[in-house]
């Protein structure tokens, strides 16, 4: 082992952070780029299912809140692209990998948002699951990633609370509203739990990522934590957990759950979910529709900004 690797391992063992200019194993860098790029693309693609309801929000307050939340998601995507760039990949390459299907984003965003209650379920469950994961990642070994997680976690808690507020309004509303709330929960429950990724035994990247402290807690541990804190919230809403086997287990001190439908999960990851094609198409279209803005900004900068040196 060369002296760089020894120094790197030592930093990891001491729970210290790796910074962009530090030496790191090529696999550590690659692993991180894969994880951070997937995280960034999820934030960006995640704007689409919510944007679907922006012009149909039921009140001005709801619309303002939803717009603010979507702006935050854009911001979070940008923080994360910045993190990936410190690892030596350009934003352009990241977007290109997304468009070519080489980079993934969270499969949850390949499900449609059919009713207003879905805005509640997405904020409460999808952002809720993301928060559990991101709180854990505040302790990740790569400094810029950890810092971006601290920032994101601070901003994200409003997302989950606004989602739950919608669920309360719907669940305590008319019978039709309550039915919509239950329906949204039914559709988003299992996909939200699968957001934590495959079981630890089947997770391709987990064990190395845990050794390098890129990930600090396992998929199954974080998933269980989310289930345990969410089931009482479902009970508060007077809704039913869409899993007959989801019961408190005195012995383990956790809620049990049925096996997940992993075939469906992998099918969506492979690109066959209800909205995969639409999400990517929309992103590509936005990128190409805006090409003239970038051209104009470039031309304007050339003429007006002395710091805009031609590259």
């Amino acid at each position: 082992m060369d002296k760089h690797e020894v120094a790197f391992n030592d930093l990891i063992a001491q729970d210290l952070k790796i910074e962009p200019r530090d030496w790191m194993p090529e696999k550590y860098r690659k692993n991180l780029i894969r994880q951070v790029s997937q995280h960034a693309h999820s934030e960006i693609i995640g704007m689409q299912p919510e944007g679907n309801w922006l012009l149909r929000a039921p009140s001005l307050r709801a619309k303002q809140v939803l717009l603010a939340k979507i702006q935050d998601e854009a911001g979070h995507g940008l923080y994360l692209y910045s993190v990936a760039e410190t690892l030596g990949i350009s934003r352009q390459e990241l977007v290109q990998q997304l468009h070519e299907g080489k980079a993934k984003y969270s499969s949850i965003f390949n499900y449609p948002t059919l009713t207003w209650a879905d805005m509640g379920a997405v904020g409460w469950l999808v952002d809720g699951a993301a928060i559990v994961n991101q709180v854990s990642l505040q302790r990740t070994s790569y400094g810029p990633y950890a810092r971006s997680m601290v920032r994101i976690c601070k901003e994200e808690s409003f997302h989950q609370r606004q989602g739950f507020e919608i669920m309360v309004q719907m669940a305590k509303g008319t019978p039709e509203q309550k039915e919509m709330a239950q329906d949204a929960l039914n559709r988003f429950w299992e996909p939200s739990l699968m957001m934590f990724g495959p079981h630890d035994a089947d997770s391709a990247h987990s064990s190395q990522s845990m050794k390098w402290k890129i990930k600090r807690e396992s998929n199954d541990y974080l998933r269980q934590k989310f289930i345990d804190r969410t089931v009482p919230q479902i009970e508060f809403l007077g809704l039913t957990v869409p899993d007959a086997n989801c019961k408190w287990n005195e012995e383990t001190g956790h809620y049990d759950h049925s096996p997940f439908n992993w075939d469906e999960f992998w099918n969506v990851v492979e690109g066959n979910g209800p909205c995969n094609a639409e999400r990517l198409e929309h992103h590509k279209k936005a990128q190409s529709d805006n090409a003239w803005v970038r051209e104009a900004a470039y031309a304007y900068a050339q003429k007006t900004d002395i710091s805009a040196v031609a590259q």
Binding site: R21, G75, R91, Q92, R147, A297, A301
Partner: protein
């Protein structure tokens, strides 16, 4: 990187009296766009009173490889710290 697109490091002063703090970076084609992008990205919740943006390529870093040697001149000068000096116990306010 796309033609003309540049990275700018962003520093924010939260309140008068506080130091500017590095918060991250933004992409932008010129100064004005960089400042506006920095505002939208880093001050959505009133975190800022003033923003600086600096082209990332203008930042000069100290060497990391020989960091020990680079900072060495300060290592052995304990007399730069107040605790180096012996002051009789009965003397106050010093």
């Amino acid at each position: 990187m796309e033609k003309g697109d540049k990275v700018w490091e962003v520093f924010i002063q939260k309140k008068a009296g506080l130091a500017f703090k590095h918060v991250g970076n933004v992409h932008g084609y010129d100064k004005k766009m960089a400042i506006q992008n920095a505002r939208d990205l880093y001050t959505r919740r009133g975190e800022g009173r003033e923003i600086w943006v600096v082209p990332a390529e203008a930042i000069v870093s100290s060497p990391l490889e020989q960091a020990d040697a680079f900072f060495d001149p300060s290592e052995d000068k304990v007399y730069r710290h107040p605790t180096f000096y012996e002051i009789p116990d009965e003397v106050k306010f010093i």
